[in-house]
């Protein structure tokens, strides 16, 4: 299996504070990779660097072979992100938001329209396609935000805490969508919900104080920490028991 993402000694410093300490890991093509960690562990900073939203202090990472340091334009063209906060144009309709993103990523009008229809169907947005984004509930806005990230047909999709603040039903709905995407797109997900990581991930990395302390499948992490659940394994790693 090829690696869609190769991270090599990636480091980010903010003054004296080291947010990410020489992270090194790989993500297989078509897999779902979860980054776990407590608040301030460096998950979002890592994702920001991988998407060009923050420049690494040192080290590099390769997205489908393109360096985030020297080939950022290529990286931006093949990846997309759904940020922690919902990122939609409030006065545009669902359809217009999707069309806007497709056009920003270089699709022709016709291509964009066809892709919008496909995404609307895939994300079950038919009923709300003509509603302004600002009138949607939190769950629908988040769904739209992820749909907007996917409309550019990215090879790598970054989902930064996609289900944060959603109710159980909206969360389960998004899990199903994310599950459907697996194998078609390489996904990097950050989350605080252990059951989310356990349910969706092929591989999990645990970050503590900017460092990747452990990386492997859920089963491997449980075995490493001799714990029964991912949550217990995560706590053991985060508290430095292993």
């Amino acid at each position: 299996m090829n690696s869609a993402i190769v991270v090599k000694n990636l480091r980010k410093e903010f003054g004296n504070k080291i947010a990410v300490k020489d992270s090194t890991f790989e993500v297989e093509e078509g897999s779902l990779f979860s980054l776990l960690g407590v608040n301030g562990a460096g998950k979002t900073t890592t994702i920001r660097m991988l998407t060009g939203l923050s420049k690494p202090s040192s080290g590099d990472a390769y997205i489908c072979g393109h360096s985030i340091v020297t080939e950022l334009d290529e990286v931006k063209a093949i990846s997309n992100i759904s940020t922690q906060e919902t990122a939609v144009a409030p006065n545009l309709t669902v359809e217009e938001n999707l069309l806007f993103m497709a056009r920003i990523y270089g699709m022709s009008k016709q291509e964009a329209k066809e892709k919008v229809e496909q995404i609307i169907k895939q994300f079950s947005l038919e009923e709300i396609r003509r509603s302004k984004a600002k009138t949607l509930s939190g769950g629908w806005q988040r769904r739209l935000s992820i749909a907007m990230a996917l409309i550019s047909e990215p090879k790598v999709l970054f989902l930064d805490e996609p289900t944060l603040g959603l109710d159980v039903l909206a969360r389960k709905g998004l899990w199903n969508i994310i599950r459907d995407l697996k194998e078609k797109v390489t996904i990097v997900l950050t989350t605080h919900y252990m059951e989310e990581a356990e349910s969706l991930s092929d591989q999990v990395a645990v970050m503590v104080d900017g460092e990747v302390k452990a990386c492997g499948t859920v089963a491997q992490l449980k075995e490493l920490t001799e714990k029964d659940t991912l949550e217990a394994a995560f706590i053991a790693i985060a508290e430095g028991e292993v």
Partner: protein, 253 residues
Amino acid sequence: MNSVVFGKRTFTEIVRDPLSYIFCLGFPLLMLILMSIINQSIPNEANMDIFQIQNLAPGIAVFGLTFVMLFTCLQVSKDRSTAFLIRLYAAPIKSREFIIGYTYPVVIIAILQSIFTFLAAVIIGGIHGYSFSILNIILCMLVLIPSALLFIGFGLFFATLLNEKAAPGICSIIITASCMLGGIWMDVDGIGGALAKVCKVLPFYHGVTAARMALRGDYSDLLKPFIIIVVYAVVIYLLAVLIFKKKMQSDVS
């Protein structure tokens, strides 16, 4: 290409906000009508020609542009305060495309606003027996473009430097300053003294004067205020562009 797509979004966001119609169109037109009515009550002996329709219309047109500044500022600061702009920073879109995409839609709005203002002025003028030269109206609208650029520059500048709550407040100060010190509601030349000197140091007076001269067909005196407002507009706009680019770089550093 991305600047066109982004600009279309900016335009849609602004025109779908009902407040933009109230402030960018309704308020200037209301002031035009009100001041025209007030002008009817001013006796000729008062020698106050500032509210005569041929002087009032260019002043109101500049007054309207100050609200274009406010809406540029609101749009940019709103985008900056949400994750929407962050998402776009991760997309293949350059800083110059953002700037063009923020500028050209509001220039279109400014032109549409001027058209409505002068249409209303032509009707009011017609009622009171004053006829405008179409050529001079077109010239006046062209002369207003640097003022539009100046106010768009101010909007971009404050929205980039300040947060969503502070930026519109500062714009309100600029709106008041441009109305009072630009000679829209008072005769700066008639006042004279230190206040007139202050007015002439600031760009607003020159924008209003150039527009009035263009509408009057006073071509020989038009050049000086026009050049001054062009220089101010270019400097403020370029400064805003520079600040926006710097801020964008620091946002992704």
